[in-house]
């Protein structure tokens, strides 16, 4: 792996940049691997990277039905935060945030993690009660999250409209300063390059068609478009397609896949310094380094794999954005796109062993998977390497849907009374 640095960039400039090697050479799959990861998104590639870099398992293959980083890894709005309510969630997401710090240096690939702060707006008394509960719980968990007054919100995000006569007046907000954004493609590419450099094979454009199990029920490999590939262990990190992959192993899952749309505006000079989210008005927005306003929409109402969304969802999203940021009505929408998000009954992920020996799963991240990328990847790798979950992801098991010990962040936000 040729090292990335300003110096090498300078040197290559005089060499027509002829010296840069392939990030991930095309490989033909070997007959068998110690571990196969299904799904070359940020989570799957990261898991392969940590297996090799941290847990000493290098005979690893990542299989992807399309092109790497082409799923939700390349379709999200790149928001990073960890100010979740329940201890389990806070620890899970904060594990990720700690890894985000320094990820560029670890991977020798600039993922452009930018701690510009994530501000969540409170619009009614119920929001305030809920945010304060988060803030106090976060404080005792060592997770930064602070309350801002209405005026402080305006100072932190000048485009914000704080008129008291707004339909949903801003009554304050919860700010996590360590929250922010990163460059989504770079995360997937950085992990891929790092994994390959440590001996991992990445097989793109190769759909998994089956999971083969031995007489004892344990996995022995996967059927693919390029033939059978043996594996001692299989990690599934297939986001919206997880239900389909798990069914290959005879498992029915508590998942549903919904379309999620996002959009960007034309690029403009810096105007929006942070990330702002409003659950009450249903909007979240940031500005990319390129200058585009990056805006997340809501999920469409129905299960779908079409990666298409409806126009009325975009209408509602932009109405919400313009309600909170009236200066943006003359801005123009440049591009919309859709992703497929896999949602669990309690809106918390599943990161666990499965009833099938040798089969591990990482799914159910819903709309929040990007922020967890390094953490989920590391914990999936740990769970595979040790055939046991790490203490952090132990609560995110499958049993909770049977015994009732749910981790219901959405319910904790509750409903206005």
């Amino acid at each position: 792996m040729k090292r990335f640095s300003g110096l090498n960039l300078f040197a290559e400039a005089f060499n027509g940049h002829k010296g840069w090697p392939e990030h991930w050479p095309d490989k033909a799959p070997k007959a068998a691997y110690d571990v196969i990861i299904i799904g070359a998104g940020g989570h799957g590639l990261g898991a392969a990277y940590y297996l090799a870099a941290k847990y000493g398992i290098t005979n690893v293959c990542v299989i992807e039905k399309g092109w790497l980083g082409g799923g939700n890894a390349g379709r999200n709005t790149t928001i990073i935060r960890s100010n979740y309510l329940y201890d389990e969630s806070a620890h899970l997401y904060d594990h990720a945030v700690k890894l985000w710090d320094g990820l560029s240096q670890e991977l020798n690939y600039n993922v452009m993690y930018s701690k510009r702060g994530v501000l969540m707006l409170a619009h009614n008394v119920h929001d305030i009660q809920s945010f304060k509960r988060h803030i106090h719980a976060n404080r005792l968990n060592g997770v930064d999250n602070e309350w801002l007054s209405t005026e402080a919100c305006k100072a932190y995000c000048p485009p914000l409209d704080i008129s008291p006569n707004a339909r949903h007046p801003v009554l304050g907000g919860a700010l996590q300063r360590r929250g922010g954004t990163a460059r989504h493609d770079s995360v997937a590419w950085g992990y891929a390059r790092g994994a390959v450099a440590r001996g991992v094979d990445i097989i793109q454009n190769c759909a998994v068609t089956g999971i083969r199990r031995g007489p004892d029920g344990a996995v022995i490999g996967v059927e693919t478009e390029k033939g059978f590939i043996g594996a001692k262990k299989i990690g599934v990190s297939a986001a919206g397609s997880t239900s389909l992959v798990m069914r290959m192993a005879g498992l029915d899952f508590p998942l549903e896949s919904y379309p999620l749309q996002a959009l960007v505006s034309e690029p403009v000079k810096p105007i929006f310094p942070c990330v702002v989210m409003s659950n009450t008005v249903h909007a979240y927005i940031s500005q990319s380094d390129k200058g585009e306003l990056v805006i997340g929409a809501g999920t469409d109402a129905y299960v779908s794999y079409s990666q298409r969304g409806a126009l009325h969802i975009i209408e509602h999203t932009l109405a919400a954005i313009c309600e909170i940021f009236p200066i943006f009505t003359r801005m123009r929408m440049l591009r919309t796109w859709g992703g497929i998000v896999d949602v669990t009954p309690d809106r918390s992920p599943i990161l666990a062993k499965t009833p099938v020996p040798g089969l591990y799963v990482n799914c159910g991240w819903g709309t929040g998977g990007f922020k967890a990328t390094p953490g989920a990847a590391d914990l999936l790798a740990h769970t595979i390497a040790h055939d046991a979950p790490h203490a952090i992801n132990a609560p995110f098991n499958l049993d909770r849907f049977r015994n009732g010990r749910l981790i219901d962040e959405a319910a904790a936000a509750a409903v206005a009374h």
Partner: protein
């Protein structure tokens, strides 16, 4: 005016000169000009700076494909719009435009240093550097990169314009008003039914507008359109997205083409069109050629040169060179010559060109160089000449010129076709993808379908040259500064999917979304990978076709119309009496009624004391209400709620608790049995719609055998809560037909009669712990009855109170508020509501889930009361409770404060909380760690006032 305006010709109105300015300098154009044509006519070649290298750039195209000539138009305060494409900005008198992405000026841009050191910034450079020192990315590199990036400036003030939206329905929708589109429209119109024709330009005609030969025919077609009674024609309207089942989104520009003084009404209108059939006649966009120096201002598409000359009467130069790989370039050259533009030469990369074209060119006095390619373009802010050579590698010839026209062939516009998931097929002849098989009821016609005679051509990834492609400044994506060599680098670095190449180089990701760059990028990648184009794939086309204004998509939903504010029949009375409001779900409710400068604490303490002392009046109208009617009404409620309902006698009320099927509390409310087959249910304010939907779900899909029906009566009834020891005295003189005596009308009973002459369902219920009534009257009579009760109450010192006082009073009694004291993870047992669960009932919604293994384990949070050791310490709602405040971080938390108030009745603060094994901790001390201090509190039962309930039974 400089000499670029031709003496005659074009569709402009030379009798109507228009003054306008660009970067502060005044110019003049004519009615019918676009900003681009007027500037070219004035001799302007430099329009903007590129995104990355800040290279000087000029006009490339005359339509939506324009990547370079992006300007900011200033229509006065708060009406600033960035990133508009100059060729699509209609000229009006007084138009003020300025260039973008340059400092201090367009001609001298400091950031052009990026270009000098361009070799340092190849595709993906940012992944490779800016990593040390760690903190420098945010503090140093990123701010600089952000400042250099972006194009125009965002507006910074609230937009005074408003926007409109509408639906529309038609049997046939035709997108594109060129000859093909108009013809298709007339065909469709002949079959009857509603036909809509939309076109993005300010007049119909499309490509024919640059072909005077067709104008007569065009006018004839327009007359036929006007004559057809069933055709709606909309110009300045862009179909931007093609959604499921022939649902098309389009925006119509209504005022931007007018001088601000003449503009009135909405700025833009969103059209949401449902069509039986869609005909796409979007035409084709010409492709640039990729060669060294192809971005020098003055190098543009041949079609643009033709459009300027023949539609706008403007010469792109005094000596024009055409660089062609396609016959259409020759035709354009001949058309220009015919219009009086001096075409110095046609250089064609092909070795064979139709004799007819060659002869015609020579006859027109145009030098012809077959089998040659331009290898360099001279000039920085404007073209001064070109160097070309046979096959790009022969002896170099220099040629002086001030404009270069590129004819690289044509790319049919299949954007909308692809939005609708229609298949695409590769055409060697066009060197482009053409519409294949549609999924929707849709067809493509004209150039957009590849069904148009554009002549012949060859596809050349990069013009042949003796210069190594790495050393060439041969641009593919002009705006994003993607060079041919960047695509080679991407491939070299292992990017093999076109999606990777696109994302790595940002080719096709600029504001033109690749209209001129996608196909060239594909060709270059194909050559670099040594694989045919079809195997490289094509990046997905996504809405919108061109950038669309947020405001247009927002439509009606601005300011007052963003979302309805639901108000009760008493709302105006509350406003008149100085209420402070809060939003509760989509309602607004009076929170408290301050008197003479009171803050909320003072007002609420006063309101609480008044209710306990005499009587208070409260607007409970927003509570959800459902009328449950039918022989099986009791059976249905028995299955839905945790409580038993069959034994409830008519005229009596019961507190009902509703779980989700997962066993967690979702709603509650007091409900009354009005008759054997009729119940009056109440729900929480926020829960009304959810509860009705949930009940309908079970009723319709699980228990459809039951004869019972649900009707929302939330808005039928105004609800006036009258609470306090004097409540009975206040209404006694107003009520008739009801015996108000304590025995005749006990707590948790309901009666029907009249109050103030209005029929009422009078509930004797209490959410305060006091003697109380909830007066239900038809909403239309709500304010009248409220005022009569208010007047009758004056003698008793009646006090109006709001939601905050209601919260305090119920907290003193330990009554829960679902959504505040519960959070969707609490069971009836957690909340100490065992008494509300029918033990003998075999089933109710959620019962089975309560039996899941972990639902009964120790350690679950339980609802309790808290009294701080310092009676004046007010706990913060949401504050976390711990057993050991000295434990290291992360500190184990056992629960949190759900409600916390100053109690007038107790003269101290009280709080409610849910904490692990709370009931077993009653009497114990717990701790609430706050920043800077730890508050000690004692766990109590959640009941602070009149535990025996003597007051509410009074």
């Amino acid at each position: 005016m400089s000499g670029y305006r031709l003496a005659a010709g074009g569709r402009i109105d030379r009798s109507r000169p228009l003054a306008f300015s660009f970067d502060g300098q005044g110019y003049q154009g004519f009615a019918g000009d676009s900003l681009a044509s007027a500037l070219v006519a004035s001799g302007v070649t430099l329009f903007g700076r590129s995104f990355k290298y800040h290279r000087p750039r000029g006009l490339v195209g005359m339509g939506p494909e324009e990547p370079n000539a992006l300007v900011t138009v200033d229509r006065g305060p708060a009406r600033i719009t960035p990133n508009l494409r100059a060729p699509q900005v209609a000229l009006h008198d007084g138009l003020q435009a300025k260039s973008q992405n340059r400092w201090p000026s367009l001609k001298f841009d400091v950031a052009a240093l990026n270009d000098v050191f361009g070799a340092l910034f190849p595709a993906g450079f940012y992944n490779k550097t800016f990593m040390w020192p760690r903190s420098a990315w945010e503090k140093l590199y990123e701010p600089v990169i952000r400042q250099l990036a972006g194009l125009g400036d965002s507006p910074v003030a609230r937009d005074p314009d408003h926007y409109d939206a509408t639906y529309a329905h038609c049997e046939v929708l035709v997108v594109g008003g060129g000859i093909a589109g108009i013809t298709a429209t007339l065909e469709a119109a002949a079959h009857g039914g509603r036909v809509i024709l939309i076109d993005e330009q300010d007049e119909l005609g499309g490509g024919a507008l640059a072909d005077p030969v067709q104008w007569a025919a065009l006018d004839a077609l327009k007359e036929k359109l006007a004559a057809a009674g069933n055709v709606t024609v909309m110009t300045r309207t862009t179909a931007f997205g093609y959604y499921h089942q022939n649902f098309i989104g389009a925006t119509q520009s209504l005022t931007d083409h007018l001088a601000p003084a003449d503009a009135s009404g909405p700025r833009e209108r969103l059209w949401r069109i449902r069509a039986g059939e869609v005909v796409l006649a979007q035409g084709a966009i010409e492709r640039p050629l990729v060669f060294n120096g192809n971005d020098v201002p003055g190098v543009m598409l041949a079609s643009a040169g033709r459009m300027l000359a023949l539609r706008y009467g403007v010469a792109v130069g005094h000596a024009v060179v055409v660089m062609a790989a396609h016959d259409s370039g020759w035709r354009d050259a001949l058309a220009l010559a015919g219009a009086g533009v001096h075409v110095a030469a046609i250089i064609d990369v092909r070795n064979v060109v139709g004799a007819d074209l060659a002869d015609a060119a020579r006859d027109a006095g145009i030098a012809v160089h077959i089998g040659c390619a331009i290898t360099a373009v001279h000039g920085r802010h404007a073209v001064t000449g070109v160097t070309f050579a046979a096959n790009g590698t022969g002896p170099a010839c220099k040629l002086a010129c001030d404009a270069v026209l590129m004819a690289g062939g044509w790319t049919p516009s299949v954007h909308l076709w692809s939005h609708a998931k229609g298949s695409l097929t590769w055409s060697e002849a066009w060197g482009a993808y053409l519409p294949g098989t549609p999924i929707e009821n849709c067809r493509a016609v004209g150039a957009g379908a590849g069904a148009w005679d554009m002549g012949h051509g060859v596809v050349t990834a990069v013009l042949p040259s003796h210069i190594d492609v790495r050393a060439q400044k041969a641009f593919v994506d002009f705006q994003n500064d993607v060079k041919a060599r960047d695509i080679h680098l991407a491939v070299q670095e292992g990017m093999r999917s076109i999606e990777h190449i696109k994302r790595y180089t940002t080719n096709g990701m600029a504001t033109d979304q690749g209209k001129t760059s996608n196909l060239n990028g594909l060709q270059i990648a194909s050559a670099a990978l040594g694989r045919p184009v079809e195997q490289i794939g094509l990046t997905t086309f996504r809405p919108p076709y061109t950038p669309q204004t947020f405001g247009a998509l927002m439509g009606h939903h601005k300011d007052a119309l963003f979302q309805p504010v639901r108000k009760s029949p008493i709302d105006e009375w509350a406003t008149e009496h100085g209420a402070v409001f809060e939003n509760v779900s989509n309602w607004r409710r009076a929170r408290y009624f301050p008197r003479g400068g009171e803050d909320m604490d003072a007002a609420v303490l006063r309101e609480c004391a008044a209710v306990r002392r005499s009587v208070g009046i409260f607007d409970a109208s927003t509570l959800g209400k459902i009328e449950v009617v039918g022989p099986d009404a009791a059976e249905f409620l028995n299955r839905m709620y945790t409580n038993p309902w069959k034994g409830l006698q008519p005229g009596r009320c019961r507190y009902g608790l509703l779980l989700r099927e997962d066993g967690f509390i979702t709603d509650d409310g007091v409900s009354a049995r009005m008759a054997d087959d009729r119940f009056h249910l109440t729900t929480t304010t926020g829960g009304a719609a959810r509860v009705l939907g949930m009940m309908e779900d079970y009723l319709q899909t699980e228990w459809s055998d039951l004869d019972v029906w649900l009707t929302s009566t939330t808005e039928q009834w105004a609800v006036i809560a009258l609470q306090g020891p004097r409540a009975r005295d206040v209404i006694a003189p107003l009520v008739s037909g009801i015996d108000l005596g304590a025995e005749a009308f006990p707590h948790m009973a309901v009666r029907e009669g009249t109050i103030a002459g209005v029929p009422t369902r009078l509930f004797r219920v209490s959410f305060t712990g006091e003697l109380g009534f909830e007066i239900n009257v038809p909403a239309s009579e709500g304010r009248k009855v409220w005022e009569e009760v208010w007047d009758a109450g004056q003698a008793h010192g009646i006090t109006a109170y709001g939601t905050e006082t209601m919260h305090v009073l119920r907290a003193e009694k330990g009554f829960i508020i679902v959504g505040q004291d519960t959070d969707g993870t609490m069971t009836p047992y957690d909340m100490g509501l065992d008494w509300a669960v029918g033990k003998k009932k075999p089933d109710f919604v959620g019962k089975r889930s309560l039996a899941r293994p972990d639902m009964g384990l120790p350690g679950r949070k339980q609802f309790i009361g808290l009294l701080t050791e310092d009676p004046q310490d007010l706990l913060e709602e949401g504050a976390q409770v711990v057993a050991d405040p000295d434990a290291p971080m992360p500190m184990p938390m056992i629960g949190h404060v759900t409600s916390s108030y100053r109690s007038a009745a107790l003269g101290r603060t009280i709080a409610l909380a849910v904490i692990a094994d709370g009931r077993a901790r009653i009497g114990q001390t717990i701790f609430v760690p706050m920043p800077g201090k730890v508050i000690r509190a004692t766990v109590t039962a959640p009941m602070f006032y009149d535990a025996e309930g003597s007051r509410l039974n009074a």
